[in-house]
């Protein structure tokens, strides 16, 4: 055991074992998110110092039921534990089990024991089991597993310090390389021994059980290279080894051994009356009330997002305006000042402004998850989702997509079936995200008058809702098409635990929100940072003669019309944008977008929208010489006055505005989303298909709208 690096302790347990609560209770804010090597599953780790001054690194592994995993999240645990050379291979394990239902948790505990890694068993949710009148004879459990057992409650903090002391003993065991007798919880059969022998020829492992697991999982384990996979398969083919049958025998064998032990160690004082959870579920998952409650909750969440985010969004906008103003006041009037203010600060400001909406959405979703509600939603809607080729778990991604597609796509990792997961990734960006809202706000007024209809409803508000519903319908229909096109023989499962309802732990909720917002800032931020510099260049520079001519003409125009300083500046900016590369690009694509009712100015806005859709508003402001005002209403007034030079009619009439709205509903104008899709699907194929199909939807519907109504 090397002394120079901190000891790595893995926190492992079933989903809903209270594992993450325990990790949060131990590490608090000292957490960092990184990646497991080669895969896109987030690795959560945190360093803590124990009472003896020892620094240890805790790794919170994804929840898993057994070492026979389903989803990509779960596979990472087996990937790590079957490879002693893996950088995350733990020196010790804290196994977390919810004390309410111990049998279920013991399967994995006995499997982990065979890895011969020093381990300790931590029984969580003590507060709940005590309330339910369940008590354990922990010494009997210690005897059976041959490890220390400690009871804690992350909710009340009871015994968390005791656990930290226990960890010191655990580390001593690591240091002394304690090779005491390792009790076997599974007797290897003849064929299993053959499998072990075969695996050991191709992989360096510490224990027989790791070799056995490699025999089961060699087809997908990353640390087994392609040639060895073929060799192992070929040799296993000559034995009587049947992976599935063996898994069943092994699992049942373990249950048969430990079930009587646990029953003897359990003392039930309470009665077996209908639990609170069962009574709550009578309403929450009720045939009629269940769905009604779900839609009421969604309505509340989206209402809250808009109502609560308004003020903080204003502050963030103000902050970036102030920064931009400050930079231009201290730096000389040069190209780099413009790059910093108009390029970088404006680009980053465009991202940061969405933080409040995203934070509020994840605050509410995480709270629902913590209470135990989200898995009920998965249960209720699984059937409907399945009809569209999705999974009940897709509902979480689709809801999150209402804020931002990036964290939403990343949340699909819990979907075990690849086809269902891919389908969810493909359609999630269709759900109207926060960045579309400013665009909708500007355009909706050209399509729907601000009047009250049907006794009290605001017509524009209804249209807004209509756009959301349109995006949901489009996502479901597209999913159905993908279901028909994508082929897969892989079996699909639901099998989800509906945990006991419990009070949400504020710490857990806040840490998750912090994590999600962090992902958004990093994932979206890095793409938009680069893109806003490119766009700044395109909009600030052009063929040199064109730029000079624009400046000269503007100066003449400004002096003859005696514009004041502000108006002159705005006018010059709009003329320069027209002469810039962006302006040329806009004119270049004009023939392609003419059938949709757009001119080259809208073309520029479409191009700049690729950094993020909401940039549409800012671009329009610059084009219509109101660059100094970021107010959406000012932009709208200018757009409303615009006359199309060819038709002589208003440029933003019903048809062209509807066409533009539809374009923004469907088009995937978000490079960050494409980058995330590429990473999650590990290929360029899917982001390209995603971009194309959404582009065709956008172009097609915009075309039809303009041709019909134009």
């Amino acid at each position: 055991m090397p002394q120079d690096r901190p000891i790595k302790i893995a926190i492992i347990g079933n989903p809903n074992s209270g594992k993450s609560s325990l990790f949060n209770a131990l590490t608090g804010l000292n957490q960092k998110i990184s990646n497991y090597p080669g895969v896109t599953v987030d690795k959560k780790s945190g360093a803590i110092t124990l009472a003896n001054g020892e620094r240890v690194e805790l790794i919170d592994f994804p929840g898993i039921y057994s070492l026979y995993p389903n989803s990509s999240d779960e596979k990472i645990v087996v990937e790590t534990l079957t490879n002693p050379q893996n950088e995350n291979y733990p020196d010790a394990i804290i196994y977390v089990a919810a004390s309410l239902e111990l049998e279920k948790h013991f399967l994995l505990a006995t499997q982990l024991k065979e890895l011969k890694i020093p381990m300790l068993l931590c029984l969580t949710m003590m507060d709940i089991s005590v309330a339910k009148g369940i008590k354990y004879d922990t010494s009997a459990l210690t005897d059976y597993l041959d490890i220390a057992v400690i009871e804690v409650s992350s909710l009340t903090g009871v015994n968390i310090d005791g656990l930290k002391y226990q960890m010191i003993d655990l580390i001593n065991a690591v240091r002394q390389q304690n090779t005491t007798t390792w009790k076997n919880h599974h007797k290897l059969s003849q064929v299993e021994q053959e499998v072990i022998q075969i695996s050991r020829e191709y992989a360096v492992v510490d224990t027989d059980y790791q070799a056995l697991l490699i025999g089961h999982h060699h087809q997908w384990l990353e640390h087994i290279d392609a040639a060895d996979r073929i060799n192992i398969s070929a040799k296993l083919g000559q034995t009587d080894f049947n992976s599935i049958k063996n898994q069943i025998d092994e699992t049942l064998g373990r249950f048969n051994l430990f079930t009587p032990v646990i029953q003897r160690a359990t003392e039930r004082i309470g009665d077996n009356k209908k639990s609170k959870t069962e009574r709550l579920d009578n309403i929450i998952t009720h045939r009629i009330f269940g769905p009604i409650l779900f839609f009421a909750l969604m309505l509340f969440i989206f209402q809250a997002i808009y109502a609560w985010s308004e003020a903080p969004m204003g502050w963030i906008e103000g902050l970036f305006e102030w920064m931009s103003g400050w930079v231009s006041s201290v730096l000389p009037d040069a190209w780099y000042t413009s790059l910093i203010t108009d390029g970088i600060i404006a680009g980053l400001g465009g991202i940061m402004v969405f933080i409040p909406q995203i934070a509020i959405l994840f605050l509410l979703i995480t709270a629902l998850e913590e209470v135990g509600y989200m898995s009920r939603a998965v249960f209720m809607f699984d059937n409907i989702m399945q009809r569209f080729g999705l999974n009940g778990r897709s509902i979480v991604a689709l809801i999150s997509g209402g804020a931002c597609a990036i964290p939403a796509i990343m949340s699909t990792r819990t979907i075990a079936n690849w086809k269902e997961r891919l389908n969810t990734i493909m359609v999630t960006p269709l759900i109207s995200c926060s960045a579309r809202i400013p665009v909708y706000t500007v355009l909706i007024g050209f399509v729907v008058p601000a009047e009250t209809v049907w006794g009290g409803f605001n017509a524009q508000g209804l249209a807004f809702m209509g756009l959301y519903i349109l995006s949901i319908v489009a996502a479901l229909v597209s999913a159905w098409v993908f279901k028909m096109v994508l082929k897969s023989d892989e079996k699909s499962f639901l099998m989800i635990e509906l945990p006991q309802y419990k009070k949400p732990l504020l710490r857990n909720v806040l840490l998750t929100v912090k994590e999600k917002v962090g992902t958004f800032i990093i994932e979206a931020g890095k793409v938009i940072f680069v893109l806003s510099i490119i766009l700044w260049f395109l909009a600030s520079y052009g063929p040199s003669d064109a730029m000079q001519r624009a400046e000269a003409e503007s100066t003449t125009y400004i002096t003859t019309n005696q514009l004041d300083e502000q108006a002159a500046e705005d006018y010059l900016a709009s003329q320069k944008l027209e002469a810039s590369y962006a302006g040329h690009l806009g004119k270049f694509i004009e023939p392609a977008i003419r059938p949709l009712g757009y001119d080259w100015k809208m073309g520029i806005a479409l191009i700049t929208s690729f950094a993020a859709r909401e940039i549409f508003v800012g671009t329009m402001a610059t084009i219509y010489s109101v660059g100094s005002s970021d107010d959406e209403m000012t932009v709208r007034e200018q757009m409303a006055a615009e006359i199309n030079p060819i038709t002589g009619e208003k440029q933003y009439n019903f048809a062209s505005s509807l066409s533009l709205l539809l374009f923004y509903v469907f088009a995937l104008q978000c490079l960050s989303t494409l980058a995330v899709t590429k990473r999650e699907t590990k290929s360029w194929k899917w982001p390209i298909i995603q971009f194309l199909y959404m582009g065709i939807l956008a172009y097609g519907s915009a075309f039809m709208a303009y041709q019909w109504f134009g």
Partner: protein, 73 residues
Amino acid sequence: MDKNVLHLKNGEEATVVRFADHGMACKLLTIGIIPDSRIKMIRKAPFGGAYCLKLGNTFVAVRADEARSIIIK
């Protein structure tokens, strides 16, 4: 014909005997649905397709295919 979990009415309880499908069995075992354990039908999902079952103190949602593979007595 063997009775499976889908034959249970809401609130009815039975004992698991075996599984009709090996592939399903692997998954069901890991979440604690094992032969000789007691299983209770709680309810069908609002839009059908999935069922909520209770094992001991745990509630689990499974699809019809998964439920059908659990043979009971």
